[in-house]
């Protein structure tokens, strides 16, 4: 399908919403042949938007588009025997299957790892769910939000005391689980001969964040000393300045911890007298006096724009950055110059801007090249050419509502 690094790797995606589709997109962006299998009424993300003018249309969801570039798309009702059989035929030709259904559903459909590995012992099956395949919550209903907060990431690190813990304003747990699954899953494919065959890779989105983000920084101390910390609403409670502050036209991430950084900030502010006060000479002491220092800095930031603040602070060795709005990120000259934002043509959406490759591989470039598939766009190609079904067989499956 392409000349990318993963050319020759065939992936079947039985995914919906965000986690499995994004994981499969990572494979597709770098050259794998990804066949996305949707139920006859399509991936739920097709109904989530954002839609042009907020008018729902199954072929015009921006989220679906973003998550499914470079894939071929087929429809199949895997809950019916004929549908299951067709899926198993696809699986026999595949290296990887990526899915994000509840474990019980996969068992009921006869598509659990035991069944799939029987059809193809070399298959790497990647399951990405909020709670994972084992453990007391594995059969619970759950979404991104539930997984994120089960990880303690919000309770520990985001939100004001006394108010609800917060998630980042996106599908943070789904993305985190998807990336984790891509790394561990591709390792299983890469080392398949060494490891002795295929295997089941079980990613629990909550666990990935609980371990590598929250646990990494906190669990050793808690296990040893029995004390733990929680969110403060301030960027870095132990050092200052280290938080988001408002400015004339938005917000800046204000950071000046080391002496050189603090002196740089003072210089940019015109060395006001208060910066020389004893109570502001060390990042820890400044943090203890945060009620005094933040209003003083804010007085200055409110008189200046975010880009001016960022540029001058950076030039003075102080790592302050503007808090980019989504529009500012999308239009930033740096990302434009690096070719991060790409344009694609889609038969229903027209010309559309998309986020490009997550990383650059000069010898084997990746990133979105083809738009997300229309619902069932590649049915004839995949079932006819790949599986060798006759026109009559395919017509029969269509009549029965399986395809």
């Amino acid at each position: 399908m392409s000349d990318g690094a993963l050319q020759g790797t065939t992936v079947i995606e039985l995914g919906h919403m965000v986690s499995a589709p994004y994981c499969a997109k990572l494979f597709a962006d770098y050259g794998a042949d990804v066949i996305k299998v949707e139920p006859p009424d399509g991936d739920i993300a097709r109904r989530w938007g954002p839609f042009p003018g907020d008018q729902p249309h199954p072929e015009k969801s921006g989220l679906f588009f973003f998550l499914n570039t470079n894939k071929r798309g087929v429809t199949l009702d895997v809950t019916r025997t004929t549908g299951r059989d067709a899926l198993l035929q696809l699986v026999r030709r595949a290296d990887v299957l990526i899915e994000n259904h509840r474990p019980r559903e996969m068992r009921e459909w006869g598509l659990d790892y035991a069944s799939l590995s029987q059809a193809n012992p070399d298959l790497v099956m990647i399951s990405i769910t909020p709670y994972g395949q084992t453990g007391p919550y594995s059969e619970w209903n759950g979404y991104d939000l539930n997984a994120f907060h089960l990880s303690a990431a919000g309770h520990r690190y985001c939100g004001r005391p006394g108010e609800p813990p917060l998630e980042h304003g996106t599908f943070a747990a789904d993305f985190y689980g998807a990336v984790t699954a891509a790394a561990w899953g591709l390792a299983a494919v890469y080392g398949r001969r060494r490891a002795g065959g295929g295997q089941h890779v079980d990613v629990c989105c909550a666990e990935a964040i609980a371990a590598t983000f929250v646990g990494g920084q906190n669990i050793g101390g808690y296990a040893q000393d029995g004390v733990f910390e929680r969110r403060t609403g301030i960027g870095m409670p132990l050092g200052a300045p280290a938080t988001i502050l408002p400015c004339k036209d938005g917000h800046v991430w204000m950071l000046a911890l080391e002496p050189g950084q603090w002196n740089g900030l003072a210089r940019v502010m015109g060395n006001p007298e208060w910066t020389q006060l004893e109570m502001f000479q060390d990042m820890y002491v400044r943090a203890q006096n945060r009620d005094a220092i933040y209003p003083l800095i804010e007085q200055w930031t409110m008189e200046h724009g975010k880009w001016e603040i960022m540029e001058q602070c950076q030039a003075n060795g102080c790592p302050v950055t503007a808090v980019f709005t989504v529009a500012e990120a999308a239009e930033h000259p740096h990302l434009r110059e690096r070719g991060y934002i790409v344009d694609l043509e889609h038969s229903e959406l027209g010309r559309i801007r998309d986020i490009g490759a997550p990383f650059k591989l000069p010898a084997s470039p990746g990133g979105p090249r083809r738009p997300a598939p229309l619902l069932g766009e590649h049915n004839a190609e995949v079932y006819g050419t790949l599986l060798g079904l006759s026109t009559e067989d395919l017509a029969r499956l269509r009549r029965d509502g399986v395809v």
Partner: protein
């Protein structure tokens, strides 16, 4: 049947420091790669000095958070300010498949460890560079911390209470995220190398990798020109209500509830024992519930407030509702789910103390993942310099004495 780890035979020199770079090595190490972090006592990594310390003894080999985040990396010490240290680094790299670094652009070149230097000793080397904003472009030299890097992606601008200002995330979510995504990037490059014989220099911009998470809001801007602000715990596409975190009995106890389907709504109503307000036209359909989400959330919160978070999660799950306790740090160690999955493990550190780190946070049915303790500074010096590079004892002693191996 062979039971080797999938990445056995892959050797990595990891110049990564602080958090993101070490996690790249850790991820590959869990899966069998032989990873050597290259560090120096001449400039001890600041995360080695983060408290708390094993048994309270302040020492760069005893930082508990550092160990959890670095476990799986080996360690060799080289003073890269000295030309002989750089030459030894190149000698080690000649035996490696992958080189990882997360300095700013140009730093490796200044140490004579740039891609061209590495290619000269290992033609098919995969060099993986992960600066904040990539290897080129107007912002390439931008200075950020892990916790503020997200400000350049749009992610911070949508994080906070709905209608309020951005609320900072108080640690570098993007560091382990980039560490794990970085391991994926390296595996893509290894796959390409094995097929074609060609290595490459991977340009991994942390800004670009993290901005992928902003995809949903980016598309609304691309399609409708709309600029999102903080959304609280609401569904990123605004299609679900209730969708939030609600108070429970006890200090700082909460539950997350996400209602996407009509069935789930009916389940929630049944769990609440069919309150009259739930039948009001304001809450009768998904669009009505989304429109009146604040009023809806207030009513749900009034109901959840009296419940124990775990009891309530079980009750709601019994009614088919996606609900889960909001963990705090202590819960991670005690929660029956994480215990059953063996998420955290207590290990004996070679220096004699017990420490709790995370183990295989992904379960693999065939591969038994390699879990190691945090590396002592220079723990692999003997093996790497004497056996791998064949340096005679006498020269080795001199290099240690002259603080080249240091």
């Amino acid at each position: 049947m062979p039971t080797a780890l999938p990445l056995q035979g892959v050797r990595v020199a990891n110049f990564g420091w602080v958090w993101a770079g070490p996690v790249v090595g850790q991820t590959l190490g869990f899966l069998g790669a032989e990873v050597y972090k290259i560090e120096s006592r001449a400039r001890i990594d600041l995360t080695r000095m983060l408290p708390p310390f094993g048994e309270g003894v302040r020492d760069p080999d005893r930082s508990l958070s550092n160990h959890a985040c670095w476990a799986g990396n080996g360690s060799v010490t080289l003073n890269l300010k000295k030309p002989e240290g750089q030459a030894l680094a190149r000698q080690l790299i000649a035996t490696c498949d992958v080189v990882v670094e997360n300095f700013g652009p140009g730093v490796m070149e200044s140490l004579h460890l740039g891609y061209e230097d590495l290619r000269a000793v290992k033609p098919d080397v995969i060099m993986f560079s992960m600066p904040a904003a990539g290897l080129d472009g107007p912002l390439k030299d931008v200075r950020t911390y892990g916790l503020s890097l997200t400000s350049m992606t749009g992610l911070d601008s949508v994080t906070g209470y709905r209608g309020g200002p951005p609320v900072p995330v108080e640690n570098a979510f993007s560091d382990p995220y980039n560490g794990i995504m970085g391991a994926f990037a390296i595996l893509v490059a290894l796959t390409y190398r094995d097929r074609t014989g060609t290595g490459q220099h991977v340009d991994y911009s942390q800004q670009e990798a993290v901005m992928q998470m902003v995809g949903p809001a980016f598309m609304d801007y691309a399609i409708n020109g709309r600029i999102a602000g903080p959304i609280g715990n609401c569904h990123p596409l605004g299609v679900a209500a209730p969708h939030g975190v609600f108070p429970c009995a006890g200090e700082d106890r909460w539950i997350s509830i996400a209602v996407l389907s009509e069935e789930e709504w009916q389940g929630l109503v049944a769990a609440m024992e069919n309150p009259a307000w739930a039948q009001a036209p304001d809450f009768a359909s998904p669009p009505a519930r989304v429109r009146n989400i604040d009023g809806l959330h207030n009513r749900v919160a009034a109901w959840t407030r009296g419940f124990d978070d775990r009891d309530l999660a079980r009750l709601l799950q019994h009614h088919g509702v996606a609900a889960a306790p909001v963990s705090n740090v202590a819960d991670l160690l005690h929660d029956p789910h994480f215990r059953a999955r063996g998420t955290f493990v207590e290990v004996q550190h070679p220096l004699g103390f017990r420490e709790t780190i995370y183990g295989a946070y992904v379960k693999t049915s065939r591969t038994e993942v390699s879990v190691r303790t945090g590396p002592r500074i220079g723990q692999d010096n003997d093996f790497v310099f004497k056996e791998l590079l064949g340096i005679p004892e006498e020269r080795y002693r001199r290099l240690v004495q002259e603080q080249v191996i240091y």
